[in-house]
């Protein structure tokens, strides 16, 4: 007889959940990371604002792609979600601090 808790834990440990969590992280949290990184670079780069914005935006897709790759290569599935989320948070706080 399985309790609700055991069933939930089984679902979380399943491969489908693993893939789903990483995909969510890669697609949505990856975008969040790229967006916050872009905003931060646009403010932080030592160039005139129009140029730093251009540079930051052009670089954003590399950040996004790396986040996607990372989400599927890190060993713990929860790290795939939490780490980029926290990093985005740090970037956002820095944006608030600078701009």
């Amino acid at each position: 007889m399985q309790t609700i808790k055991t069933k939930l834990l089984q679902r979380i440990d399943s491969n489908n959940f693993n893939v789903g969590l990483r995909a969510f992280s890669a697609i949505f949290v990856g975008y969040l990371l790229a967006a916050t990184a872009t905003g931060l670079l646009a403010l932080a780069l030592p160039l005139p604002p129009a140029e730093s914005t251009l540079t930051a935006t052009m670089l954003s897709f590399s950040v996004y792609a790396c986040a996607g790759i990372w989400a599927f290569s890190v060993s713990n599935q929860w790290r795939a979600l939490i780490d980029p989320l926290c990093l985005s948070g740090v970037f956002y706080l820095l944006i608030l601090a600078i701009g």
Binding site: A50, T53, L54, F61, A65, I69, S73
Partner: protein, 546 residues
């Protein structure tokens, strides 16, 4: 995710590839064709196939401009803007165009273009309504039947998947240099893998470039957060800082005489010396706030910036010399976009870009065929015992047949529609496009019912035949056939005819490869049940669809 980084990346490469490969094939196919969109558009207008093509002649500019101004003043007095196009390498004719004032609720008016023939005074005003090659250009990022914004997000999403597929593909390709020279024929999925590796690696810099620059081209839509943060969302001020010379001028409503365009040519020549003028655009002609813009043909310069020499339309005063601010970031942005559009490419480089695009299509095609063959091999045992192929396998095989054979067929259908649809039907240009999608959908219907090798052979034969017959279609529906075009040296038209024949031949060649050799001797194969024969049967059966 899996035991090792390598295995995780292999898994990732397969799935990011598979989930979006058919959309990507459409995008790559349409994008590759777009390298020749002007040539396709020329072919799609048979009214222009005689007595129109000419080269740029700097001595004729003044007289042409004068003729144009008089014509436009007579025929387009209250238009929103006037345009005079001079011959370029890819648009080899002179034309006068204008945009009518928008009607109620419309954002733009109608665009009208009249082409000046080489000899004679009567302008060509009745060119059939057709999108020509520009259909394929728009198709590869705006798709069709969907609002542009949604399409661009879909394409952007798929492109990010493509970027991750490329990176993961490179990372998992351990023996990238050794494998480059291996091609194992007749070994089912292994052969497809070799083909996939070759087509990917041979044009790898191109694939990375075109994917990344594709994202950069629409980056302001995908990643507005830089502007949001650094400019507080004021996109206008951002654009203003990037190109201060671009000023939108609205009409005042007060009539004023437009200055004679010829009088401005000496100043233009002084700034640009001998560079050819591509077009002259007059905003708000006849109004006090009119502006005259001269654009040059940037030819082989790797730039997409269209900076104009601008004059006040009434006084003829020079207001902008057409010089853009020059910063590292801006130049990089400009070059990245220019690399994607490839406008700077002349004939040989353009051909190389086109071939690279075809290799990109081959990369996607071999990838998805590899997957289908592999899955069929896996399920072969169950299928032999009577089970049905899984839904996933049927879906992949169906989509493969639909898109791989459907896209060339649909392209042929588009050009047949261009020549065969009556010229006076309503929405003619849209109906040509509809024919493209009807052909694609028809292939989808066939694939739904039959995914066997014979269906593939039929589809490839149909596509091959319709493409090979394009020069015949041209000869029957245009006043200038292939031989005439060679004699008149109208190379864009010659190239199009020959390219279609070449593509058709390629489809026939592919079809030939699908003809099963053992099927020629059915009696012997059935009668002899030796172990050797049985083994052969198994290996050919894996290549056979059900």
């Amino acid at each position: 995710m899996k035991d090792s980084f390598f295995r995780s990346m292999t898994w990732l490469h397969t799935w990011v590839g598979l989930l979006v490969c058919w959309v990507l094939l459409l995008v790559f196919f349409a994008g590759t064709l777009s390298y020749y969109r002007y040539e396709m558009t020329l072919w799609s207008k048979p009214e222009l196939h005689k007595n129109v093509f000419q080269q740029y002649d700097s001595t004729k500019v003044a007289s042409e401009l004068d003729k144009a101004q008089r014509y436009l003043a007579e025929h387009a007095a209250d238009a929103r803007d006037w345009r005079v196009y001079f011959p370029t390498d890819r648009k080899p004719y002179v034309s006068y165009a204008w945009q009518t004032q928008p009607e109620e609720g419309q954002r733009r008016g109608k665009f009208v273009e009249h082409i000046a023939p080489l000899t004679g005074d009567q302008l060509i005003t009745d060119v059939r309504e057709s999108k020509g090659g520009h259909f394929f250009y728009r198709l590869h990022f705006d798709l069709h039947y969907l609002p542009a914004k949604i399409s661009r997000w879909i394409v952007g999403f798929c492109t990010m998947f493509m970027l991750v597929a490329l990176i993961s593909g490179i990372v998992i390709h351990k023996r990238i240099f050794k494998d480059f020279f291996s091609f194992r024929r007749g070994k089912g999925s292994r052969s497809w893998l070799d083909a996939h590796n070759v087509s990917s690696v041979l044009a790898l810099p191109y694939h990375l470039m075109i994917t990344y620059t594709g994202l950069v081209t629409l980056m302001m839509m995908y990643m507005p957060w830089g502007v949001m943060t650094a400019f507080d969302g004021d996109a206008k001020s951002f654009r203003q800082q990037l190109s201060p010379s671009r000023v939108q001028v609205k009409p005042v409503g007060i009539d004023a005489q437009l200055v004679s365009l010829n009088t401005l040519l000496p100043q233009v020549k002084q700034i640009w010396t001998d560079e050819p003028i591509k077009q002259v655009v007059i905003n708000n002609p006849g109004d006090q706030n009119s502006k005259i813009n001269f654009y040059r043909d940037t030819q082989e310069a790797v730039t997409d910036r269209r900076t104009a020499i601008t004059f006040n339309g009434v006084t003829g005063e020079l207001t902008s010399r057409g010089i853009d601010p020059d910063s590292g970031a801006q130049n990089t942005y400009d070059v990245l976009i220019a690399l994607h559009t490839g406008r700077f490419a002349e004939h040989w480089l353009r051909a190389l870009f086109f071939i690279s695009g075809i290799l990109g299509c081959a990369m996607i095609t071999t990838g998805t065929l590899l997957w289908a063959v592999k899955i069929r091999q896996k399920q072969q045992k169950q299928i032999k015992q009577g089970a049905k192929a899984s839904f996933g396998l049927r879906l992949v095989e169906g989509l493969n047949l639909t898109f791989i054979t459907g896209l060339p067929l649909a392209t042929a259908a588009f050009f047949y529609a261009n020549r065969l649809l009556p010229t006076d039907i309503a929405n003619r240009a849209q109906w040509e496009v509809n024919c493209f999608f009807i052909a694609l959908a028809a292939m989808g219907v066939l694939a739904f019912f039959n995914r066997s090798k014979s269906a593939w052979r039929f589809a490839l034969a149909l596509g091959g035949a319709s493409l090979c017959a394009i020069p015949v279609l041209n000869a029957l529906t245009s006043n200038s056939n292939l031989i005439d075009n060679i004699n008149l040296q109208q190379w864009p038209l010659v190239g199009f005819d020959l390219m279609c024949v070449f593509m058709g031949a390629a489809l026939f060649f592919a079809r030939k490869k699908l003809i099963n050799k053992t099927a020629v001797r059915p009696k012997k194969a059935a009668a002899v049940r030796s172990p050797k024969e049985g083994f052969n049967h198994a290996s050919t059966a894996t290549k056979e669809g059900a």
